[in-house]
Every structure is written in structure tokens, then in C-alpha cells.
Symmetry: D2
Subunit: 486 residues, 4 copies
């Protein structure tokens, strides 16, 4: 059965070998350690949803291979509607957690992209990579796995290709090809949600030429594979997570970004889907970013929905009608819907690959990436504007002070404002703060790549000379008007 | 055969009775008079496209009734893809004409909306309105008609309902119900493209209650029906259209907006699809605006494409590489693709009516309306920034001066700049001017209704209380936080 | 006496030789010809103001040379307050005319800039240029002259320096130095307000090196000097100006932009203030743009004030309370005040030249230029949003139709909306149209140079390395962090 | 001597009684405790500057009373230049500390405002309040005091006036008037920089009527006055401040916001400058906000300068040329200069009070407040865009991990990118993070009041009817066009 429960999921995580560190400490149980339990909880809620009568239509679907019911995030995406279903799941996730569920996001996209890429490779080389991949997908569907994904390499000197780096480890590479598998070495940085994942799908971080073929690696590994060490990054407000009173200052959900160090990791052949076929890295990146940047609009709109909710509440907790801020709330809703609707448009304008995979329209998807790196910032600004000073700069004491036996009552006395207790006002203000300058801030700027990269794609997908011809025809201009020679 | 040629179309227009005025003059032949020939040319190009091997896939389709090949603008829209096909046609139109082809836009949407509304009415009243409509649609498909649409009434005092106006004619109304038809009286204002149309589809301009049932009118009339007088409005640069040298200052294409005065116009029953069924005006407006505001993104993106082309050309004509302005050109392209992709998203997120008609998602469509009333202004601003002073404020002499026997050569001498003749530079600059502050400016602000109206729809389609609940659940807040009592 | 009346001014214009053309026609009397009477009226109103008890404090001042009362636009600007007084006059001008009074703008700045530049030249060369200039200023003050200014050359191929152009006339140049004066030849393009001016102050259009010294020309000539031909440019709506009913469609005020062709024009030495001293063209341009771009904020804010007024009126004429649009009106007012206040800030942060002239702070002034090329576009967009469709795309008939004996009454019947006559509503809508897409659109984008030029100045006045040091000190970073070598 | 040294200042703080708490702990020595030492260091740097040959011209001036050299922040502001000098100091402060020096900001403005208000009161009541104030100012100048200021009350239910609150303490109030002074009770919230101050100047938080006269209080108290308890608020990243490795993650400078609880605090008469004169609270608020909101542009531009510096560095540390991001850096610089120049404009357009105090122009100052709550958000967004993922979401491990004996070297290996060590790259990324989503985020949204409050002032200082008249005159409209009656 492809549908797992929260408990099955948590048990599975508990059974893994510890290899994640934060603040110098090895995390023995990711499901209870304060540094990782929030990201795990965010993903555990996906399993709740898969088993919820109302939400299961979003969170589950049928396997295109077996017809079995499976978690949606383990499914093939083979139509515009499948991509939009991905978006719906993501928006819902953010609405319920206020944060990123990175452990069911990159990996999902990765195996769908590889479905197309392995077909292309197989067609040239007569290999059987797609079949390998299919076997792994069937396994993932059956086990209901949460599969993180990893693309970004350490990169080293940005002006040099991987094979020209002083330190060749700056990009993850194959250091040895063995009969039964490959040995990989290097790092993947800024990887979301691994603490909540059971496996990690690895893709190359760029588009490579022949001299860089050792870096053309796609494979999938258990999160606790031997030789892999994960260090969780620190975010502005994550020390709060460690405190006993954290439930009042920080939600029970959350996200993580981590550093993955691979030291001589052996990956058996049946989990390797690209190892040297550099020619296909370019398509791989194109397919991946098109889908990823189409669907990312759903993440930020989902978090935007929570900001709309938090701001509405915040107004009331401050003793004001939320209608006072209706113009701003409408603007927030518009921002959310631009990012979401434009993502859906990228899906609707997409094309089907011969393998059956469906890819969003690149120009629209990358346009949305630019919007995703702009509009949520305005939404956050409005959240702070509506919320007042206690949201903007955390003009509130810690929960430790709030409950201090000596002066805690004084604080509560003076923080009472609207039709609710000082404590409720406190929690809402902390939520707005967390969403806008705390740990809830999602990586909408660089997650999935930089906006400048997206602008480049827009540039190269805009047919400037065709547009020049329209202008000339409209004015009946026959003369050539060339670029100046310089 | 439902596909007509340019000549058939022009002949049909020539055969109509003259009832259009401009500058105090009755226009005898709309196909040659300088006040209307540009809008006719814009629509004649649709017929060229329908008969063009490459463009016919955009401009034609099969009738869902007969299976015959018909002009796309005469077709039923019954899926997300049908709506997106509408958008593709619109974008293409603007690319080729630089302007609005209003004569194939509102009417097309109108009969599709009425397909659903007549079904709803028939179901309640047992009437046969949908069949009537079907007959007319078959006629339109067979004749390959260009059908304008008319919604906006004169309205009079905005604070009063139609039946409370001092002058009841302020909204088009039924003044008599006869056995064979109805007699209507009043005006429809700001109606696009009627001079290029053969028929005009009339819809009610608002959502009405019982006391206003006389204003609940949907019907279709020949453009030259007895009792109808049309006055074309004047735009900033349309006096140029009248001059013999106009081809150098103004494109051969263009748009019109007109005033329609109905004086005791008799409409026979087989062309009447609503006459008093006020209860359905609300749905009618909802369906209409959802589709209209989804697809309008295609218009402004098509014109934006021409602005990108004109600006690229303008840079070169000024002697500069267009790459100098690449950042601005990319921003323009992004603006275009937001409006287009968001429209496509509204289509993709739409729903199918039981009648078979397909309607775009209101929240996304109205969000796009807000974007459509914002982003093209920035695109125009960038067109002026790239083009230089000669574009912005028309710092160029008239074509009459440009060709003046005495000093015309001096002008040409001094207007030569880039790798092209002074005349070509002149024409490109005029195009950019026309697109940004001349007759080419489309009604992206109020066409299809005001942005504030759209914001209201966004407000009422945003589930604020649901979002409040997400925020509360995330922070485990159980307490009620009501709006202040005031 | 340095204060002239409207009549004295108009008489002076009437006494000049005709050398201005438009639409192929020589304009005999600029004060009555429909192509120029509006710009003359705009400037005549300055003389009214100078003789008005309330406005004279803005429009007049005392000569720093003689102590006599003079028109403010003939005065020296030698303090921050003097520059701000310039701004106040400009804002007031726009408020009363809705348009540009270019004939008292560039010339005023030009002689103040040359006051500093001639001092610098005199100090190096021992010349007496400043004294020459003083004599001319005394003459201008005494006669109360309206002095236009001309900088922009035709330029030809932008990638080549003036002396490298195929056609050397592409930039105005000295073709012969005679004992009593110089002979100049070439063109100045896009020159504002010359039809309303008595003299034209000429400055070089760029910063030149030795090989281009023939182009380093500063001098002042009567507008009707022998050898000078002026062609007025055409703007989108200026054919309306020619019609007898123009008063209803277009204000009585207005602006012009013209082409100035100099053919072997002799300028006597006492009117020449730079002829070859190329080394000082760089300072000249710097001084000029700093002051010009500081004060230009006052122009656009003044016109913005009229847009606020027109929009308030328009709401009422449409039958709506202006309070409905209060948020938008406040945004418009904020835009106006940013441009005005930032200009005032540039003045306040300016510096005094050793000559006594006062120059605005370049970084702030050029920052304002960028704002001036952005914010008024948003103000115009809001004017169109508030005004409704009849403002945006001129969805109103011509005045000729409005008063047509046959159907004019019908038009009036249907255009009545608010608490005013249809005619008043008509005029307000035309004003809003004229301000936003008609002849009232000021050259806020390229007037005084391009925004990209301003961005360059911001770049070179921002001390990046100093800011890097602040960042390093804050984090106690000692290590060098150089730019990558490539 | 009015100029103190860093050591004198720190000693003075050390000699005060402890009354500040954070995280449940009483802070014994604010100069060394990790929760307060950063804000103290920020202010100590002011004393360094006052004694620095280059900076003293910004940080010191002459007393208008005694002619003695004093710290600038103890001086009277009696001209536009004095206000601009305030701005220069603030920009410089932010450049050197990256953060707010609230302890020399509100208090400085407060006593200057009271200089005017006490004169007004004295004139009506024949009191000698201004003389009292003068004595205190002389004392502050002589001792070189750092004087924080406190306006914002707890407020309670925003819909009720102070005297109508259930809990009268919701606004600070006089609970008893004694012969030698007054006894005050209540709270002031969100008060900046008190931990670094020696005294706190208290002003009323609103404009009051007679029934609220008990809340009309202006006085000044030592920070450690009996009955006053201060609780420091917590910001997202301030737990980092407490760690031993904090120097690598957080600057040595910083800001604090605190809660001030006054319990039966006795203030002797010679320190009371308003106690019940409610009529003058309205002027007081007007004067205060005009100056405060003019000068606040200098704070955010100073911090913006640091963001420009950090971003330039960040690009290099990532191995890229900062020129790659030149467009973004120029936009950041423009944002900074708009806020700064517009503030200077508000000063330049200000007016002199009969008391000698000088107040900025309200319309311009409040316009700047709106800009200050908008532009820095864009500057922060650009800082994150340039910086890459490690800046945006803190995709970097803690310093504890960075130096971990087991895997620290691995982290450093993979974080090396540009021409600098991994450690330097780490620190710069932390700085950018701190500036944009960490403790360095200044209160530019609500500091000095909400932007909506500022918009209200813009509304009431915009003469809409005067602008309506301009529009009417331009179109020669005589008819009245009233607001609709409703």
C-alpha cells in the first residue's frame, strides 16, 4: 500500500542512522530534537492529509504504473492538470504549516524530469536507464517515501568550470566507476528538508560539456547513506526553536536548509540514472527549472494566504477592524494570485515530452520566478504595515519575560489591546514576525535559482527579431535596420 | 462555408446602410472613409489570417455543431484550451495590427456566455431561448460574421438604479413588448469596433433586481438596423488619420470606440435571448467578466510585443545597439508574459458550466484585470524611455513638414541617426508615439470594466476567515478574536 | 523698469520677423496663430503674475546688480533659496497653465551656469567673458525678456564624436571666426518654447575634447535672427488646436517643441560667451544638469497638482464622491511631493560656486531626474483610473459632434452624469485626456536629458569603496576582498 | 566642558542603578552584558566621533546659549541647516554602526519641540516653563548627556480615548500633583535605546482634549529613576548576541527596543514641562512628527549605504565582479538618496517658530515617511538578490559549526568562493542577513508612527479645492461641480 500514516513515517525516520548536525551536536532523533522536529512535523502533516477524507484528493492520486493509490508527491506528472495538482498540494502545505515542505518538492520534480532524460539517453545509447528509474519509482510509491532533492553544488570560483577548479570537490563528482556502482565525492549546499526525508535525489547543478562529464551525476541515495554528513544551517530566529517556551514564539512547523558533505559515497548502479552523459545536462536543467519555477508560485501564494490570515487577525488583536486595512489585504491577495495563477498559466502553456512527462512553458515559468522574487516581499511589507511596530521589529519581550513571575503580569497588562487576551495577541504578533523576518521566511528569492538566471531565460525565449518584424510591417517599413556595427 | 475572404467581408460591409458619423459627417463607406478604414483593415486582416496556411490553425476551428471549418471567433468555447485559443488569437491580432480588434471580441464572448445563461433560464421557465441562440450562432458561423458586443450603458446618475433615473433612457431598456419582438430604446457607450462589424450583440450593463427588469436585455442586431445611430469617438491623434500623408504618421490599422443610440429599435423574437429575466443578469455579468478579463491579458501582451519590437528598432534607428537597453526590453517582455500567462492560468483554473460553456476562474481573471491596468503602463513608459525624446513628446515635425519642398531636406538631414534613412526613423518613432500616447493606446484600464470593480471581486473571492483559521491553527490559538464591535 | 506687462510682451513678439513654420505654413503672428498662440498665452500669464499683487512675490525679485525689481526668470540664482524660488515659480506655472513654460526655463538656468563658467574661463585666459555676459544679463533684466535655451544637437551617429561625423553639421558648430563675431551652422532639436521667446540662449550639447572645440559654443541670439528657421514639432493632439471649437477640447495654454536650423548665422562677439574653450564644457554640463534636474521636479509636481484637481472634479462630474478615490488622490499627492521635495533637497544640499552662482547637489538632482521619469507616469495612470473610460481612450465624440444640430442633443442627453452639465463633464474629461495622453503631456522622461544619463551620474557620485569600508569595519574584516581579475 | 569621552560616558552608565531586564534577568552592567553592550557600543562611537578631528564637525557644534562646544545631539535646531546637520549625523551614525542610535534621536527632537511648546504655553498662562526647560538643556549640554525619548503609550483599546479606557494606565498619566512635582504611572512601549541613555525625555503619545488632560505630560527623568522598570524586547536574531562566538555572526553594534513601566514615579517640578496643558498636545505632535519624519530619511539612507557596501563586498566574496550588479546597486543608491534628499527638502521648505525652533515642512516630511516605509524594503530585497541564497535564508551553518573540530574544515573548504577566505565570506553574508532579516532591521515602517498616519497628514495638507480651481480655470469652467449629496 502506497499510503503511509504519520506514525509509519515517523518510525521510519527514527530507524535511520543519525548523520545530521547542528550547533556542533549530532542529532540522534530528528523527530524530537528541537532543531529538526519542526521540519519533520511539517512533513508529518502531509501524511495526516493523505489520510484525511477532505484533503486526500489533493494529497493522493493513483499510480500511473500500478493504479494503486499513492501519495501525490510520489506520482508521475504527465499533463498540465498533474502539474497544477502539484501546485495545489504546495499551496495547501504552506497554508497548514506556514512554511516550506522541501522534502516533497525537489525530489518529486527530479524523478519526473529524469523520466524524460533517461528516455533521451536510452534512445541514443541503447541503455536501460529508464527501466532502472521505473523500478526505483515503484519502490518510492510503494513505500510512500519522502524524497528530498539536491542540485546546488558548492561551486567554488564562479568564473571557472568544474574541471578547472583548484579544488575539484567544489562540485559533486564521480571519483571512481566500479562494476557495481559509482563512488561520489563533494558537497551539495543549501538543500531543503533533508532532515525530514528518507531519501535524497541528486541531480547535476549545471549544464556541462565533455571535460566536465564526471560532474554529470543523477542518482538517489538513502538520507543516512554511509559517507554522507549533513550540517543544518542557522536562520535568524532558530535559537528560539531550542527554548522550552518555543511553542509561544515559534510555530511547531518549520523548514531547514542544510549542507550535504559526500565523502567517498558508494551508489549502486540500480540507483544511478546519469553518470557522465553530460550532453543531457542541459535538457535536464531546462526541464527541471521550467516545472520548478512554475510550481514555486504555489508555495509563496500559500504562505501569502497565511500572511493574509495573520494580518486580518493582527488587526483585530490590535483592536481594529480588519476592514481598515482592506485595500492592503486585497493587494496581498492579488500578489498571491498573480504568483499562483501565473504558475498555473505556465502549466497550461506547457508541452508533453515523448516520454510522457509534462513540462511547463519556460518563458512563463521563468517570468513567474521573477515575480516570485518580488511580490512576496511586498506582501511581507504589508504584513508589517498592518501588524504595527510589535510585528516589524519585534517590539515585544521574550516569552520568558512575558511569563516572568515578577513583572510578567505587568507586560500582559500593557499588551492587552483588542478583543482577545494579551497572550493571543502575543502569539499572532510572533507569527507575523516569524513569517516576515524570522524562520518562516521562505527562499523565494534564490530557491530554485536566481531571478537573474530567470531573466536570462526570458531574454532567450523572447523572439525579438520576430517582434521587430511586426513593428516594421505595421508601419510598412522595408528598409533593413541593422544593429550598429559598434 | 463558414470561412470568408477579405473581399467577401469588405463587400458585406459596403452593402450595409450608412449609420455611422464622425466629425459631423455621415460615413458612406466604412471601408474607405479615413475615420473607419483603419478599424476595418484590422478586421480584414483576420480574414487574411483565416485563409493563411500558417495562421489558420489560430484563426479557424471546427464548429462544435456542424463540424464545419469556421472562423475561430464564431466558435463555442467549451474547455480551458478553447479559452486559451481565444487568447492566442488576440495576441496574434495585436501583433499584426498593433491595435484592438474589438469587433471579434465582445460579441464572441457574449454568445458563449448566453449559451450558459439561456440554459439556466430555460431550465427555470421551460423556454427555448438556447435553441433560438443556437440558430443564430449557426447563422453567424455560416456567414463568418464579425460581431461586436455592447454592454456599457450611459448610466446617468451612478448613485441611482436604472429604474430610479430621472431619464429612464440612461440605460438601454425595453419600452414595448410586441408579439413578434421587443422595442428597445437608450444608448450603449464606448463600444469598440462596431464600424468593422456586421452585427452587434447586446448584453445588460449590470446586475439587476426585479424593479429593473426592463433593462435586462440580451439580443443581437444588425449593425445597420433601423433606429440605430453610431457616433465614433475622437482620440488624441485621430485627426492625423484624415490626412493624405497619414500612412507615414499612423499605421493603416486602428481601433474605434463609439456611441450607439437606439431609438425605438424593433428586435424580432428570434434574436432576443433575455428580456426581463433579471435574476440571471448577475450570473451573466460574472461569466462575462471572468472570461473577458482572463483573455484581455492576451491583447495587452500582443501590443506589448509590438512595443518590444518598436523599441528594439527605435534603438537601432537612433544608432544604438538594442542590447544597450536589454534590461528594459526584458522587463517589457516579463510584463507581457505576466499578463498573458496569468490569463492562461485563469483559463486553466476555470470550470465547465453544465451547458458546456467554460468559464475562467474569477479570482485569477480579476487579478489579471488589475495587472492589465498596471503593467502595460510601465511597458509604455519603457518604450518612451528607450525611444528618446522624439517618441515621448513627439519632438518631430509633421510629415507635411518632413516633405516640405523648402525645408524638408533640412529636416531629413538632421533626423538621420542610425543605420537607416531619416524616413524610416521617422516612421518608427511615430509608431512608438502612436502606441504610447496616440491612437494605438488600448483601453487596458477600463476596457471590460474598472480595476476597482476587479478588486472588489478579488475581495469577495478571497476566503479571509479560512485564512484566519490557518493562522490560528499554526499558532495553536483557540480563543475567538472577533472584529471590534465599533 | 524690468517688469513688463502682457501687452508689452505680446507687442514685442508681434514685432519680430516670422521664421517659425508648422504644417508647411509660415506663422506670421505667433500670438494669434493656433499653432503657437497657446504657448504664447502660457508665457503671457507669467507677465500677468508679475503684475499680480499676490503672485508677484513668486514671479519677481530684485536684481542683484541694480536692486531694481525684475522678473524672477531674469534673476541670478546665488543661494539655495534662489533655486527653490525657481522651483516655486515653475510649480505655480504648471498649476495655472497645466503645461510647460519652456521659454523661461532653460535660458534662465543657462545664463546662471555661464556666470560660473565664464569666471572659470576668464581666470585661465584673462578674458572678459563674464563682463560681456553681465552686460547681456542687464539688458535681459531691463527688457524683461523671455529667453528660451537650446542644448540638444541633432547628433547624427551616436557612436561618433562631433568631429568624426560624416555630416559635421550634426552638431551646431562655428564655421568661421570673424573679427566681430562668429558664424555658426547646424541644428538644435527638441527646443521648448521658442515661439514664445524673444531670445534663445545656446549652450553646447555635450562635454567635448580638443578635436571638438568648434562645437564648444555658448551664445545668445534673437529668436528671429537672420539665418535661423524654426519648425514646430507635432504632438498627438495638436490638430485639435487648429479647430474653431478647440477651446472645448484643448486648453488655451500649451507647449511647443521645435527644430532650430541655423544656416550661417552671424553672432556678434558681445553675445558670445564660449567659442572653443572646450575644457569648460564638462563643468558647464555638470552645473546645468544639476540645477535643471533639481528644479524639474517642480514642473511635474505642478502638473500633478492639476491632475489631482482634474481627477477630483472628474469623480464629481461622473456623479461620484471624490472621497471614493481618496487613496489614489493621496498617492498622486505623494508622487508630486516626492518630486518637489526631493528637488528642494537637491537645492538645500547644493554648493556655492566662487562666482556666486549656486548649484544643486548632483547626486540628489540626478536621483530626482530618475523619479521625475517614473512617478508622473503613475500619476497619469491614476488620473485615467479615476476618470473612467471617457478619459482613458477618449471615448467621447468630438466637440463638432457634441454640438451637431442633428444628434448633438442626444450626445448631451447621454453624457450627463453627475451634478453638472454634460458640457462641463465633457471639458473635464478632455482636460484629463490632454494631461495624460494629449498635448499636455510634459517631457518628464527626456526633458533635460535621459534617465539613464542620470543613473550614470548617480553611479559616479556614489562612493562604493567608502561604503565597502563601512561594511568591513562593522564586521571587523581586515582582509582585502578585491574584484575578481576577470 | 560639554564634550565627553567614550570612557566618561561608559563610566556614567556603569554608575547607574540597574533597572533593565531581558530574558528574565536583571542586567547589572549595561556596558558589558551581551543583551545591551551592542546598543551601548553604538552610542559610545558617537563620543569617539565627537573627539575625532574629521568627524567632530558633524558630531559637535556650539551651544546657542553659552557658545561652548557641545555634542551636536544636545543642541538647539533653529534653522534648516541645523535640521540638515541632524540628518548628516544620523546618516553617519548608521554608516558606522549599521544600526539605530535611538538614544540620541527622540530626546534631541523632544527638547527642541518643547522649546516652542513651552513658549506657547508660557504666553497663554504666564508660566515659566521655557526657563525650566532651558536650565535642563544647559545641564544636558554641560554633561554631554545621551537622552532617549518616549512617546508611545500602551494605548489599550484603540477605539477609546485615554480617559475612557477600562485600565486608565493604558496611557501614561499623572496620578497625583504634589507641591514639588508630579507622580506618574503607566507605560511607554517600543522605546529605542534606553539602555544606552542617561535620561529619558517623555512626551505625550497623542493629541488630547480636556477630559484627557492627565495624560498631557512632558518631562524628563533619569533612566534609573525609582519606580521605573525596563524590559528589553526580543528580536529575531538576538539570541545570537548572547553566544561567545557572536562577533562572527553579529556586529558589535546594535539597537534595542524596550518596555518602560512607570510605577508611581515622582518627577520634580524642575523637570516637568507640561502637566495638563492638553491644548498644546496637538501642536507638540505636529512639530515632533514633522522634524522626526524629515530626519528619519537620513537613518534609512545611512543603513542603505551599508547595504550598498555589503552587497558590493558580497558579490566579490562570491567570486563575481560587483559590476555584474551595477544596475541593482544604482537602484539601491537611488533609494537611499530619495529618502535622504526628500528629508533635506522637508527641512529646506520648513518654517521658523517664534521661539526660534525650526520645523520641517509637514507635507514633505510625511511624504518622506511613506517613502521611508517603502524604499528600504526594496533595498533590502536587492541586498538579498545580490547576496545569493546564503544571505536570503541563512543557508550557512552557525559559527559553532563553522569552527567545529570534526567537520569545521569541511565547511570552510566548501564555503570558499571568491578572492577571500571562507571566514570573510561568512562574515559578510552574516552582515547582509543581519541587515535584512536579522537584528539590524531598523524600524523604518512604524518608527516615528505609522505610514497610514503620514498619509492622513498628506491628505489634510493637500489643498484639493485649490487644485480643483486650477483645473477649472484651465478649461474655463464656471459651473459649480459639487460633491454628490450621497
Amino acid at each position: 500500500m502506497g499510503i503511509k500514516t504519520r506514525e509509519q513515517y515517523l518510525n521510519s525516520l527514527r530507524n535511520m542512522s543519525p548523520n545530521i548536525y547542528k550547533f556542533g551536536e549530532l542529532i540522534e532523533d530528528v523527530t524530537t530534537h528541537p532543531a529538526t522536529k519542526r521540519v519533520v512535523e511539517s512533513h508529518a502533516m502531509n501524511f495526516d492529509a493523505s489520510n484525511d477524507l477532505e484533503l486526500e484528493k489533493i494529497y493522493t492520486t493513483k499510480s500511473s504504473f500500478t493504479g494503486d493509490k499513492i501519495h501525490r508527491w510520489n506520482s508521475m506528472m504527465q499533463s498540465s492538470d498533474d502539474l497544477i495538482a502539484n501546485m495545489k498540494l504546495k499551496r495547501q502545505n504552506f497554508r497548514r504549516t506556514g512554511s516550506c515542505t522541501g522534502g516533497v518538492c525537489v525530489g518529486w520534480n527530479a524523478f519526473n524530469v529524469m523520466w524524460a532524460v533517461t528516455k533521451e539517453i536510452d534512445e541514443e545509447y541503447g541503455s536501460k536507464l529508464q527501466e532502472r528509474l521505473k523500478n526505483w519509482i515503484l519502490h518510492a510509491q510503494k513505500e510512500g517515501l519522502t524524497v528530498a532533492g539536491a542540485l546546488t553544488d558548492a561551486k567554488g570560483d564562479r568564473s571557472l568550470k568544474p574541471s578547472k577548479q583548484t579544488d575539484l570537490d567544489a562540485n559533486l563528482r564521480t571519483i571512481e566507476v566500479k562494476e557495481k556502482g559509482i563512488i561520489i565525492h563533494g558537497a551539495k549546499l543549501m538543500i531543503a528538508g533533508t532532515a525530514a526525508s528518507q531519501e535524497i535525489f541528486i541531480l547535476p547543478g549545471g549544464s556541462y560539456r565533455e571535460e566536465d562529464k564526471d560532474f554529470a551525476i543523477a542518482c538517489v541515495v538513502p538520507r543516512d547513506i554511509e559517507g554522507l554528513t549533513i550540517i543544518e544551517a542557522t536562520r535568524p530566529s532558530d535559537r528560539r526553536d531550542l527554548e522550552s517556551s518555543s511553542g509561544y514564539e515559534v510555530p511547531d512547523t518549520g523548514a531547514t536548509q542544510g549542507l550535504l558533505f559526500f565523502e567517498n559515497v558508494f551508489v549502486p548502479n540500480d540507483r544511478v540514472f546519469m553518470a557522465g552523459e553530460y550532453k543531457y545536462t542541459s535538457n535536464l536543467i531546462q526541464y527541471f527549472t521550467a516545472n520548478y519555477r512554475a510550481c514555486i508560485g504555489a508555495c509563496v501564494s500559500g504562505q501569502g494566504d497565511v500572511m493574509v490570515g495573520a494580518s486580518t487577525l493582527m488587526a483585530r488583536a490590535n483592536g481594529l477592524s480588519s476592514k481598515t486595512f482592506m485595500d492592503k489585504l486585497i493587494n496581498m491577495s492579488i500578489n498571491n494570485q498573480v504568483n499562483y495563477g501565473l504558475g498555473a498559466g505556465a502549466c497550461a502553456l506547457g508541452t508533453k515530452h515523448t516520454s510522457g512527462s509534462f513540462f511547463a512553458d519556460p518563458q512563463t515559468a521563468h517570468t513567474n520566478k521573477v515575480m516570485v522574487s518580488t511580490l512576496p516581499y511586498e506582501t511581507k511589507r504589508l504584513t508589517q504595515e498592518i501588524g504595527g511596530g510589535i510585528v516589524e521589529t519585534g517590539c515585544m519581550p521574550s516569552y520568558k519575560d512575558f511569563t516572568n513571575p515578577e513583572y510578567g503580569e505587568l507586560i500582559k497588562k500593557y499588551y492587552k489591546a483588542g478583543n482577545c487576551s494579551a497572550e493571543t495577541r502575543y502569539k499572532i504578533a510572533r507569527l507575523s514576525e516569524w513569517l516576515t523576518i524570522g524562520g518562516g521566511v521562505p527562499g523565494c528569492m534564490h530557491g530554485g535559482g536566481s531571478p537573474d538566471g530567470a531573466r536570462l531565460v526570458v531574454r532567450f525565449t523572447t523572439p525579438f527579431e520576430e517582434y521587430v518584424d511586426y513593428a516594421k510591417k505595421i508601419m510598412k517599413i522595408d528598409e533593413e535596420v541593422p544593429e550598429p556595427k559598434k
